[in-house]
């Protein structure tokens, strides 16, 4: 019952975000600040996870494909997995851990120190001022981080496949372009945008509704990360089923 109530609350928050989003003026400066926080500052972690995911994927699939002499399919396997699945999901999980948690903690602290109430008193809508920029920034930056993740993953796979495992580079690249469609790439990016919405929405909701002082902030942060991660993975399945 509680879960369903929470779902309803999140949905209501989402609707109010939409309604505030279309109402000018939009504070671009706040949005850019959030984009820097969510996007630019996540580059390092996303590049690292993307590269190593691609590398390990190449290594693992190589051992599988070697059994029936299809080593050259390693490239396309890496590229397909990265663009369709691992790029968006891993990026979303990393950003959830980095930025989603930060959102919950920041808003939670503001809530428990009554800064949000202060904003309301100053006739500044807290949803418009605090949540809308975070959601917009996340929805925009997640696909962009995913692009980086995809690219780095393929580069990592290429490095392992061609330089370490000595798969023919021409055929490696040829198989990537042969088996990967533009659709795979764009569907992955769409997913990433949805994940961006989920993580920012959950993070903001949890932070916005924090109660119970410093302990409550910690709890809200943990809950935000767990709930966002679970929701991302579950929605990933349904998004994949719908898209492909």
């Amino acid at each position: 019952m509680e879960n369903i109530e929470e779902m309803g609350k999140i949905l209501l928050l989402f609707i109010s975000i939409i309604s505030w989003m279309v109402r000018p003026p939009l504070k671009l400066r706040l949005i850019f600040k959030q984009m820097e926080f969510v996007g630019v500052k996540s580059i390092y972690v996303v590049v690292l996870t993307g590269t190593f995911t691609g590398m390990v994927l190449a290594l693992q699939s190589y051992y599988g494909f070697r059994m029936f002499s299809a080593e050259s399919l390693v490239g396309s396997t890496v590229a397909l997995s990265m663009t369709r699945e691992l790029g968006p999901v891993l990026t979303a999980l990393m950003v959830t851990a980095r930025a989603g948690s930060a959102m919950a903690a920041e808003l939670g602290t503001m809530r428990v120190t009554e800064q949000i109430d202060a904003l309301s008193v100053m006739a500044t809508n807290p949803v418009k001022h605090l949540i809308v920029p975070r959601v917009i920034a996340s929805v925009i930056m997640l696909p962009i981080l995913t692009i980086v993740s995809d690219f780095m993953g393929i580069i990592g796979g290429y490095f392992v496949g061609v330089m370490v495992l000595h798969i023919n580079k021409g055929i490696f690249v040829k198989n990537i372009t042969r088996y990967v469609d533009l659709g795979d790439l764009y569907n992955g990016l769409t997913k990433a945008a949805v994940f961006g919405l989920i993580l920012s929405l959950v993070g903001c909701y949890k932070g916005f509704n924090t109660t119970g002082g410093a302990e409550g902030v910690g709890k809200a942060t943990t809950e935000a990360v767990v709930l966002a991660s679970i929701t991302i993975l579950i929605s990933d399945y349904f998004l994949t089923a719908i898209m492909f």
């Binding site: 400066r29 021409g170 040829k174």
Partner: protein, 475 residues
């Protein structure tokens, strides 16, 4: 302190990411890793399904280049290969498309050629191409072959079918078996002796030549003597000139004696005999070596030949269709059928009340059969068996690298008439076409002798060989 605004950072990041996206989306052209070196060589394949740009080009599994370009030229795939500069391709290399494993990355395999043929220059063409095996095509061809075989068996059924045919065939097979058994024994017993014999014959031939020369000298002298004798007979003064004739006859016989003396000396001379033996042994040894070498190679070959002869005196044509099976280079079997305008002869002897009537029947529609076994000794081929449905033997002499064949055949030995003798020459005009001319049945006492001209077509049949060696006989 210089600090970048959030907008600039975000803008830069988005810009870089969009470039990456654009790159991944459009990914055109080459991955620019490594410098491009090498020269181009073209090769045309019928079908390059599965072959991609940048696929490997290998010799003996070693990569020597990449596929640079694949394009369509006159309905065929023209493939441009980029070959590493330090690899030179000979002009007679052979290119083929192979695949790694079952999921099959295709690559171009090049079989090296010989240095004598020279090297392919830049932008040259590989001329020898091995096409990919096409399973569908193979099956289609097999189907066609099966149909052909069915047609053959059907017509064979027509010929052999029926009790009479079976009986005939049985008789023929029985005869052939006996004959081949006998011949086998003879050949087994005399296999070694044959080769010795041939060499001896060769030596004997040179001696014979000398002897013949001497003989012709003698004959011409006899001729002159005969003239004398004739004159002597007509002349009144017989006795006077008889002395002189006797004297010249004596001279002739002296010369014959001399001739004999030479041969005798040659045969009796121990040294000559030893020399001959030694050289024969050497020949034997080298023959053994050659035999061993040849038996290692794939030797089994089958030839089909058609032969048409136009007989002038009969104004009719005689056709032969022969299958020659050659399991070893120097051994072969011939099976064939002959359509003779004179047909097949059957003789009947009936004895009624002590008087024997002899009747002959000619069946013009009856086919004649050839079943021969033969062995080749260098340029001479000895063969025997059934020739035109009668027992006989033949000898062939090959000259000018087998371009010319002189043949003598003798068969149809019958007590009440002369044997069928045939002599002819075959000359190879083109690869499979031979011109032939000769004299058929030239000692016939039935007026069958006739000169003839004709042609024959002879070719090696790989399909038939395949059927003979690998196809199980259906029950």
């Amino acid at each position: 302190m210089f600090s970048i605004s959030s907008e600039a950072k975000v803008g830069l990041f988005v810009f870089v990411a969009l470039i990456l996206l654009a790159y991944m989306s459009f990914r055109v052209g080459e991955y620019g890793f490594g410098l491009k070196k090498g020269y181009f060589v073209n090769v045309v394949f019928d079908n390059v399904t599965g072959l991609d740009k940048d696929a490997s080009v290998t010799i003996a599994g070693v990569e020597i280049g990449k596929v640079e370009r694949i394009s369509l030229t006159d309905g065929k795939a023209s493939v441009t290969l980029r070959i590493t500069p330090d690899v030179k391709l000979e002009k007679d290399v052979r290119a083929s498309i192979k695949s790694h494993g079952i999921l099959g990355d295709k690559f171009v395999e090049i079989e090296p050629g010989t240095k004598e043929s020279g090297y392919i220059e830049v932008d040259g063409q590989i001329k020898r191409v091995e096409q990919q095996a096409d399973i569908d095509k193979l099956l289609r061809e097999l189907g066609t072959i099966a149909n052909d075989v069915m047609a053959v068996t059907a017509s064979l059924k027509k010929v052999v079918g029926g009790d009479e045919g079976v009986a005939n065939l049985r008789a023929i097979i029985q005869n052939t078996r006996e004959l081949s058994e006998n011949l086998n024994t003879v050949v087994k017993q005399n296999d070694e002796k044959f080769s010795i014999m041939v060499s001896s014959l060769k030596n004997a031939a040179t001696e014979m030549e000398k002897t013949f020369a001497a003989l012709s000298d003698i004959t011409s002298k006899i001729n002159r003597g005969e003239g004398t004798v004739g004159r002597l007979v007509k002349d009144e003064a017989v006795f006077e000139k008889l002395d002189r004739t006797v004297a010249s006859l004596e001279e002739i016989s002296d010369k014959i004696n001399e001739g004999r003396g030479t041969i005798g000396r040659l045969i009796n001379d121990e040294e000559t005999v030893e020399n001959l033996n030694a050289s024969l042994k050497t020949i034997d040894k080298s023959m053994e070596g050659i035999n061993r070498y040849i038996s290692k190679a794939e030797q089994f070959r089958t030839f089909l030949s058609y032969r048409g002869e136009y007989l002038f005196d009969n104004s009719d044509a005689k056709s032969y269709l022969n299958l020659k099976i050659q399991p070893k280079e120097d051994k072969f079997y011939i099976l064939g059928i002959v359509a003779d305008p004179r047909g097949s002869r059957t003789t009947y002897d009936r004895t009624t009340n002590g008087t024997t009537t002899h009747t002959e029947e000619w069946d013009r529609d009856q086919l004649l059969f050839n079943a021969e076994i033969g062995k080749r000794y260098k340029d001479i081929v000895l063969r025997g068996g059934l020739l035109e449905s009668t027992g006989g033997v033949g000898i062939d002499y090959y000259a000018f690298d087998d371009k010319l064949r002189l043949t003598f055949e003798a068969f149809d030995f019958d007590t009440d008439r002369d044997p069928h003798l045939k002599i002819y020459a075959d000359y190879r005009l083109f690869k499979h076409l031979y011109l032939t001319a000769g004299w058929d049945d030239f000692v016939s006492d039935e007026g069958n002798e006739s000169p003839f001209v004709g042609f024959s077509i002879k070719f090696e049949d790989e399909d038939l060989k395949y059927l003979l060696t690998s196809t199980p006989i259906p029950k």
